[in-house]
């Protein structure tokens, strides 16, 4: 269950953040925010291959807590972080990858919109729908 999704530009502020379980949302927000730093580390670690189709964080942040944090970064340094509930063991790596791919595509579509100013918060309904469907799907 992807409990939370966030996409943020290099400036590390969230362009979009969405959590499924409304309770403990703040905790997830905090989690994804901190995970951004981890992603940055990973990016800086590898010099050339900037685009990671996925980064798998298994029990990275809080091993005691049962959730995993996945990261994804685009060529333009836009980071996507997804927090997934570990209880959902059905989630495989490929699924995470496909979810990130969908996120990326939707983000690209938003970018295509001339009315969208890069750096604005994402209010696109299509994007929301996509994310919601994705999260529901995994739930």
């Amino acid at each position: 269950v992807p409990v939370s999704v966030i996409c943020s530009p290099p400036q590390n502020y969230p362009l979009y953040i969405r959590s499924v379980p409304t309770e403990n949302e703040l905790k997830f927000h905090y989690t994804v925010h901190t995970s951004l730093d981890v992603v940055d580390e990973k990016i800086s670690a590898m010099g050339k291959a900037l685009v990671d189709q996925r980064e798998l964080y298994l029990g990275l942040l809080y091993p005691t807590e049962d959730y995993k944090v996945y990261g994804y970064v685009t060529n333009s340094k836009v980071k996507f972080v997804m927090v997934v509930d570990s209880s959902n063991t059905a989630l495989r790596d490929n699924e995470i990858r496909s979810m990130f791919r969908k996120l990326h595509n939707s983000y690209t579509d938003i970018m295509c919109n001339p009315f969208y100013n890069p750096g604005d918060r994402i209010h696109s309904r299509a994007f929301d729908n996509m994310v919601n469907s994705m999260m529901m799907q995994v739930c």
Partner: protein, 751 residues
């Protein structure tokens, strides 16, 4: 009448606004239109009502009236949803009125006054329209069923009053507001446009609406589809609008086939003073290929959405079908609709209106015509079976033409057969004729069954169908009859060969009959075997399977095929009956049989009516045959100079079995009592038979198979009967011998 209908609907249901109630209202309207008294029963009996003819969007006054009617509330819902096949044309007309297309047409051609009037009226009050639309929007949210008539009514009234020329600017407004923001709630969406259309409609249109509704009710599934397509209609871009958009496109990008870059589009749409967020959303919706640039179609869609938004309509969550660019391959239905619409648009806006207008008026005009309506209705019902066709139908105004085009070529074939089948299955009586249409109406889904049924129908209905239908009183609607007649004729033609088929069976039963007769007769009949056989020989050919017999209830339909055997057998019995008048017990039976035979003969000639539907008559036929055999055999022993008791004994068992058997069979019931001669065995055997042919949907093969089975059973029973007779004889002989011995011994005892 309308009030009557309303009362009826209201009385029967809670609220007139309910869709189902609306459908009932529509049906009642259709009933009323056909001249039948408006009653609830009429709904059920007059199943093949022609679609109520609504002078759809023709008379503005009517539309106004309708608006007042509660039905309007339903109408919107039903219209949108319903868009039943036939109505689709109408609805679209109405919707067209609601939608920009209609509006455009109105402007373009005054001829379409009526159709356009609805549109015009809304347009004419552009300022108020947003209001109403918003209100309508709210209404739908309130609930699908409850449509506040009052709300829309008053609004619409002023709209209808205002009918000045509408400016092009109103078009965008109008078009904008046609699709109520309802995003997913097509019902609500339908409400608003239809209500507006309705208001414009005249009271007569109410009827039309009802027709539409009735049709819709017939095809609920289709309605949904239609609704979706109708939903698109409001979003459809009118020609004028389209032209406007194209012009705007040209100002930005002279090449109509080119793209408008995102930045340019952004600037352009920013001028509309919509919030960026909404513009962004519009962009997302309209930039279908997500390339950051707008093609002409995308631009028009975007512009259209902008206009809609400006008029107060919420943006849909997803792009309406009518706005989607052609290139996108959507569902077939939507695509077709889209393409047709789009093509019309892209090709030449000017042309579109003319095409639409003629189609609309033509559609309107055709509607009043019963024939067309019936045909369309029938075709629609057929179409309902295929959602694809329906959607196409709905989404385009042009559909009126395609509809008509489709109507003709599409053989209603199935429906009639289906009707026949249903009719036959349902009821055998003449009154059932009225019902057939109802099945047709109500069961579009049955169409698929037509194929299966058709064969059986043909087999059974054949002539009866024609006769039944032609004679049916319930068919008050000419169109219906015409359509049905047409279809029936087709089916008849199909069935006629089948009808001829039954005749072949006669030889078969003849053979079997001769066998059995020979069995029985040779054994039991010393006097009349030859005659009987001859009689048998002659009778079978004379007895065409169909006519049943009689035996009592004329209407009983006799399975033609089985009847062959039956008739053959029964024919023998009559012959034998007269020859054996000695048995009082049999006299009644004989008379009955004779009469039955006579009737059979008569019916054989006629072949009509009888609903050959009665396949179960097969069992009846077999039963009769068995009875006949029983009779024959019973008579045989009776011929033997045994005591009258013998005659009675056989009679006793036979009545029971016969009764038993008869009970199992509908047709034979009256005859059961008559037939008193069957052995229990035979009865049992026969009892099993009725179950065989019961299934209505038998194919000819099945019938023939059952016939063969019956014949076999008959022969078996005949043999059994003869054996039992033999046993009876033996027993009697023994008894006689015992009596003799007793008498011989008596003197001794005296001694």
């Amino acid at each position: 009448v309308l009030f009557q209908i309303m009362e009826l609907c209201g009385a029967t249901r809670l609220g007139y606004f309910g869709r189902s109630q609306f459908y009932i209202a529509l049906k009642l309207v259709a009933v009323a239109q056909t001249g039948l008294p408006v009653r609830m029963e009429s709904l059920n009996t007059v199943k093949d009502l022609p679609l109520p003819r609504f002078v759809a969007s023709k008379n503005e006054q009517e539309s106004r009236h309708t608006a007042l009617y509660s039905s309007d509330a339903d109408n919107p819902a039903s219209y949108s949803g319903v868009i039943p096949p036939p109505p689709p044309g109408r609805i679209q007309v109405k919707k067209g009125s609601v939608s920009h297309d209609a509006a455009v047409q109105q402007r373009t051609s005054t001829d379409q006054q009526e159709s356009t009037s609805p549109v015009v009226s809304p347009q004419q009050s552009p300022p108020t329209s947003p209001h109403t639309w918003r209100k309508h929007n709210r209404h739908p949210s309130g609930g699908n069923n409850e449509r506040p008539l009052a709300g829309p009514g008053p609004f619409w009234a002023p709209f209808s009053e205002v009918q000045p020329g509408s400016s092009t600017s109103s078009d965008p407004i109008w078009s904008g507001h046609s699709p109520p923001p309802h995003q997913e709630n097509w019902v609500s969406f339908a409400d608003t446009p239809p209500t507006s259309a309705l208001l414009a409609m005249h009271p007569a249109s109410v009827q039309d609406q009802t027709t539409v509704r009735t049709v819709a009710s017939a095809t609920t599934t289709n309605e949904i589809r239609r609704q979706s397509s109708s939903y698109d209609d409001p979003w459809k871009i009118t020609d004028e609008q389209r032209q406007y958009y194209v012009n705007q496109f040209k100002t930005i990008q002279p090449d109509l086939n080119g793209f408008i870059p995102g930045s340019a589009a952004k600037e352009f749409f920013t001028k509309s003073k919509l919030p960026i967020l909404e513009l962004s959303h519009i962009w997302e919706l309209s930039d279908f290929d997500k390339d950051g640039a707008l093609t002409l179609d995308e631009f028009c869609a975007a512009f259209h959405l902008v206009v809609a938004r400006k008029n107060g309509y919420d943006l849909p969550e997803k792009l309406p079908e009518s706005l989607m660019p052609k290139l996108i391959d959507l569902e077939d239905s939507t695509e077709v609709g889209e393409q047709t619409g789009e093509v019309g648009y892209s090709s030449s806006p000017a042309e579109a209106p003319p095409s639409k207008s003629p189609s609309m008026p033509s559609l309107n005009q055709t509607w009043p015509e019963l024939n067309q309506s019936s045909e369309q209705w029938e075709t629609f019902s057929e179409r309902s079976s295929s959602s694809q066709t329906l959607t196409q139908f709905d989404s385009n105004i042009a559909p009126a033409d395609p509809d008509t085009a489709i109507v003709h070529p599409v053989p209603i074939r199935m429906t009639p057969s289906k009707i026949h089948m249903q009719e036959m299955e349902l009821k055998r009586t003449g009154s059932d004729h009225a019902n057939p249409t109802s099945p047709l109406l109500v069961k579009p889904s049955d169409l698929p069954e037509e194929n299966k049924m058709s064969s059986s129908v043909k087999f059974t209905a054949g002539n009866t169908v024609t006769d039944g239908y032609s004679s049916s009183d319930s068919y008050t609607s000419d169109p219906e009859q015409i359509g049905n007649a047409v279809t029936r004729q087709r089916s008849h033609s199909g069935t006629s060969p089948d009808n001829t088929a039954p005749p072949p069976p006669p030889p078969r039963p003849h053979a079997s009959h001769s066998r059995s007769s020979s069995l029985d007769m040779n054994r039991s009949f010393s006097v009349t075997p030859g005659q009987q056989q001859a009689g048998v020989v002659t009778y079978p050919p004379a007895v065409p399977p169909r006519p049943q017999p009689s035996q009592g209830a004329g209407p009983h339909v006799h399975r033609p095929v089985d009847a062959d055997g039956l008739i053959a057998h029964t024919s023998t019995s009559p012959q034998q009956i007269p020859e054996q008048p000695n048995f009082a017990d049999f006299s009644q039976f004989e008379a009955f049989a004779a009469s039955a035979n006579k009737e059979e003969d008569d019916e054989i000639e006629t072949h009509s009516e009888v609903s050959q539907v009665e396949k179960p008559s097969d069992s009846a036929g077999s039963l009769r045959v068995a009875k006949a055999d029983g009779r024959v055999e019973d008579k045989a022993p009776a011929n033997v100079p045994t005591s009258a008791g013998k005659g009675t004994t056989p009679l006793a068992p036979p009545p029971k079995p016969i009764r038993r058997r008869l009970k199992s069979e509908d047709e034979l019931k009256p005859e059961a009592e008559e037939h008193t001669q069957k052995t229990g065995v035979i009865a049992a055997v026969l009892a099993s038979q009725p179950s065989i042919p019961r299934s209505v949907g038998k194919d000819k093969k099945a019938i023939q198979a059952s016939i063969r089975r019956n014949k076999e059973t008959n022969t078996v029973l005949a043999r059994l009967n003869s054996e039992l007779q033999q046993q009876l004889k033996d027993v009697l002989e023994e008894r006689i011998s015992l009596e003799v011995q007793l008498e011989q011994l008596r003197p001794f005892s005296h001694l």
